[in-house]
């Protein structure tokens, strides 16, 4: 959907193996660990290196432990990797909350506090290289006291080990704190002192292509993708992990003439979107599971009154409040089936940051063309990550709603065999007044309780899905050897892990739908031919995706690997599940 800027080398297409480095930094709330990750990623992007950053917090809401995992490489990356190549840790005790997300190997390099007496936990694994110890903390006897910022020191040590010049850090800091240049100056001496520390070990020296790249979060990509598709109105209610969609739009949409409202709740948020779109304006909202539950009645209205809406759901884990900052793929049922009565809607899935823009364009295309709600399922894992991506130029041909003129059909909801939608009557158009209604209605929009009308109108509305299915039959991504005898079916953010996993598993092929509903069944049936063994992989305790597929096609003999979310699926976990010995990555 989007056009990449010409100057960009086709980095992801080259066959050379990925050279990458996984850097984990663990600290406590006040250590500024996230900032180190942010800056390193920025610096990588400046040099034309690719990367991804995921952040994880301890369970405490504020001030608890926090860690970032950052992976930098010379090709596009949308998976944070398996093993920790570099671990920076100010206190061994900070590590306990991150069990399962950090794994050392023989060549891992540790950077630790010189005086930290704590032992590293066993689950972390072991390495052969000696740890590098640095005096991060300031001590008064045995008591740690406030001192120079540890994050500046850590940043300097990692830069030095990577062979990155000081000027690169200075530039990244200056950009990050453009409104506070004095602050940067104040911190540079700390940076320099650590940068010049003796015996800093050397890490893999990665070389970028030199063309500066863009750092974007999943939520930013969703917001900007929507803007590039013609978004003019947004209403939302804050909720983790989707809030940055609204925050990005507050910063960027009014500047191009759009409007943003923070609503009093999600019912109102989607209500406002329905209202704005009733006015002919491309509109959307973004939320997470709890908000989607509240939006359900408005989804029905949007579909019934044939008003285009785009609803982004950044899925988080669990029902009710669940685990707000954790990822899961368990809103699939709700997206596809949620709501009372029969009504059509389309559901798309987001793979990663690069894909997010593309998906948003398609979402608006479907919503505007077919006048129904379109749900975009992102998740915490995509929403909250930062990813380095090629620059993009927006498409010029934005989706456009078919606007009614007096030459068009005399009724707003005219029944027709060959036309799934009617021209949209935009308020302000003389002669076009009509009644839109959530009540079942006749062709004119007038309320009706006639069972025949209800049947014919249901047929009319559901005919849209047939057209959408025809338009979107190619909206799938397949990879691996198409003749391989074993197959994996997955959706959404598993894309990053699987697209890398497949490189070391030539006996497999992978199928990932970009549209989940209506499901691209033809492509799926074609793809699965000749498979001896097939497995669905998803983060849902009930196996919603697997069960959904079972309702569409014969899934006998297909294995389901479904578990509740929390952490995203790793390659190691997938290997274990498939009964393959854990394969160590070559670097």
């Amino acid at each position: 959907m989007e056009t990449r800027t010409e100057a960009m080398p086709a980095s992801s297409a080259t066959a050379t193996p990925l050279r990458s480095l996984v850097i984990a930094i663990a600290g406590s709330g006040g250590d500024g660990v996230a900032l180190i990750g942010d800056l390193l990623l920025k610096m990588a992007a400046h040099q034309g290196l690719y990367g991804i950053l995921v952040q994880s917090y301890g369970p405490q809401i504020r001030g608890g432990e926090s860690a970032v995992v950052l992976r930098i490489g010379d090709r596009e990356i949308c998976y944070e990797g398996e093993d920790t190549d570099v671990l920076v840790c100010f206190r061994a005790s900070d590590l306990k909350r991150f069990k399962g997300s950090l794994h050392l190997h023989d060549e891992s390099q540790l950077i630790l506090e010189e005086k930290d007496p704590g032992a590293l936990p066993d689950w972390l694994g072991t390495m052969k290289k000696p740890a590098f110890r640095h005096p991060f903390a300031t001590w008064d006897g045995d008591v740690e006291v406030a001192g120079e910022p540890k994050n500046m020191m850590a940043l300097a040590l990692v830069c030095r080990a990577l062979g990155w010049p000081e000027s690169l850090a200075q530039q990244a800091l200056a950009e990050r704190f453009s409104h506070k240049p004095a602050l940067v100056e104040r911190n540079m001496p700390t940076f320099r002192k650590a940068y010049e520390a003796p015996n800093v070990p050397q890490l893999l020296q990665l070389k970028g292509h030199g063309v500066p790249l863009v750092v974007e979060t999943g939520n930013e990509a969703v917001a900007r993708g929507a803007m590039s598709a013609g978004l003019e109105f947004f209403a939302g209610y804050p909720i983790t992990p989707s809030s940055e969609v609204m925050e990005t739009l507050i910063d960027e949409l009014p500047a191009v003439g759009g409007r943003v409202i923070q609503a009093e709740d999600e019912i109102s948020a989607l209500g406002m979107v329905v209202g704005a779109s009733f006015g002919g304006v491309p509109s959307m909202t973004a939320t997470s599971g709890p908000g989607l539950s509240l939006m359900t009645e408005m989804m029905g209205l949007s579909s019934m009154a044939e008003i285009p809406t785009v609803i982004v759901d950044c899925q988080r884990a669990g029902p009710a409040t669940g685990m707000p900052s954790r990822t899961e793929q368990s809103d699939l049922y709700h997206a596809i089936y949620g709501g009372h009565g029969d009504f059509p809607r389309a559901v798309l899935g987001v793979f990663d940051v690069v894909h997010a823009r593309d998906v948003m364009f398609r979402a608006f295309e479907l919503a505007e063309n077919y006048q129904l709600p379109v749900l975009v399922l992102s998740d915490a894992y995509v929403a909250q990550r930062r990813q380095i991506r090629d620059g993009v130029t927006d498409r010029r041909d934005k989706p456009r709603r078919w606007r009614w003129t007096p030459e068009d059909a005399p009724a707003r909801f005219q029944l027709s065999e060959d036309q799934p939608v009617n021209a949209f009557r935009v308020p302000g158009t003389p002669g076009g007044t009509y009644l839109a209604a959530g009540i079942e209605h006749t062709e004119d929009g007038n309320p009706s309780a006639d069972p025949g009308v209800h049947q014919r109108m249901s047929e009319k509305r559901f005919r849209k899905l047939e057209s959408i299915a025809a338009d979107t039959r190619g909206w799938v991504r397949t990879f691996g050897d198409p003749k391989a005898a074993k197959g994996i079916i997955a959706w959404g953010s598993s894309f990053g892990m699987l697209s890398e996993w497949i490189e070391t598993h030539p006996e497999y092929r992978v199928f990932m739908p970009e549209i989940l509903h209506p499901f691209p069944l033809e492509a799926f049936t074609e793809w699965r031919k000749g498979l001896d063994e097939t497995t669905t992989v998803e983060l849902s305790y009930q196996g919603q995706f697997h069960r959904y597929l079972s309702s569409l096609t014969d899934m006998n003999g297909v294995r389901s690997f479904a578990r509740s979310g929390g952490l995203p699926m790793s390659m190691r976990e997938l290997d274990e599940m498939l009964g393959l010995s854990a394969t160590r990555k070559e670097r």
């Binding site: 600290g27 709330g29 006040g30 250590d31 500024g32 660990v33 996230a34 900032l35 942010d38 952040q55 917090y57 809401i61 504020r62 001030g63 608890g64 926090s66 970032v68 994050n151 500046m152 704190f177 409104h179 506070k180 602050l183 109105f233 209403a235 409007r259 409202i261 609503a263 009093e264 019912i267 109102s268 209500g271 406002m272 979107v273 209202g275 704005a276 779109s277 009733f278 006015g279 304006v281 509109s283 408005m298 029905g300 209205l301 009154a305 900052s325 009557r425 308020p427 302000g428 003389p430 076009g432 007044t433 009509y434 009644l435 839109a436 209604a437 959530g438 009540i439 007038n446 309320p447």
Partner: protein, 277 residues
């Protein structure tokens, strides 16, 4: 355009004698007085007998879902400010299921007019108690909530900061026409409380009883005085007329402050990684 030109061909489903007929007439008269063209008009409602009204007005009308007319109208008016936007509905729709939206629509001060046909009952669902049903009436008829105090919707919108508040009676055509006209002309959020009868689920003489409890605000009443407005709506009687109108020079001041300079916490460098919930 004459009032009848603002009517669609659809015949109202209301019981004969329903107070909502008067409201439909008063509204089309006011819109006619103001020369609002049908294509520049949006009439939005929720669900209820009263919420059927948009279907009878020639406009870009939208009969939405129970209690949700205000968010939908707020989105529409924000996206298409040039449209005259009127929201209509009942007491159950606006003061029960949809009440949560009301103070926020008022806070945003979006230029829409909200007309509530308060018949003190759920008409459409056949006579259950609404938030404005009188205690005595609930007790004598065995309706739910015989111990629950009724709500004072006018006091509520005043306290939420509504800039234009009027009350009228569905049987008094000239008064209704005038109140609606003034409300639509007001450049911010305006609220019109209409005392309406329900001939089916309220006593036959309910409309008259409402009228008996009503009085017109005297000419010397200062409608720009919020304190006076609050006093006028605190006793059990119904003051009719413009109860409160914020002086126009104060309207823009509340319509959203200019964005302030970007704020960053002083220890921004160290505290970048606090999670948000």
């Amino acid at each position: 355009m004459k009032p009848k030109d603002l009517r669609t061909e659809l015949l109202p489903v209301w019981c004969s004698g329903c107070g909502d007929f008067g409201v439909l007439k008063g509204l089309t008269q006011a819109l006619s007085d103001l020369n609002v063209a049908p294509e520049k008009l949006a009439v939005i409602s929720g669900i209820g007998c009263s919420s059927r009204l948009p279907g009878y007005v020639k406009a870009y009308s939208f009969n939405t879902i129970h209690g949700r007319a205000l968010p939908i109208a707020s989105g529409l008016k924000t996206a298409r400010p040039e449209l005259t936007t009127v929201v209509v509905g009942g007491d159950g729709d606006g003061f029960s299921i949809g009440l949560g939206h009301l103070p926020h629509a008022i806070r945003r001060d979006i230029n829409i007019t909200y007309i509530v046909m308060d018949n003190g009952i759920y008409g459409l669902t056949k006579g259950q108690a609404s938030p404005t049903t009188e205690l005595e009436s609930k007790r004598s008829r065995g309706l739910a909530g015989g111990d629950e105090q009724p709500l004072n919707p006018v006091l509520l919108v005043l306290s939420a900061g509504c800039g234009f508040v009027a009350r009228t009676h569905a049987g008094n055509m000239p008064h209704m026409r005038d109140m609606m006209k003034q409300a639509i002309e007001y450049p911010g959020f305006s609220f019109v409380h209409v005392l309406a009868g329900c001939v089916t689920y309220q006593p036959r003489n309910y409309s008259d009883l409402l009228l008996q409890r009503s009085y017109e605000l005297p000419v010397e009443y200062d409608k720009t005085d919020l304190g006076a407005a609050i006093n006028a709506v605190r006793d059990g009687r119904f003051a009719l007329g413009v109860i409160y109108k914020r002086p126009l020079e104060e309207v823009s001041a509340t319509a959203g402050a200019a964005s302030e300079e970007e704020w960053t916490p002083p220890d921004a460098v160290l505290k970048q990684d606090l999670p948000t919930e």
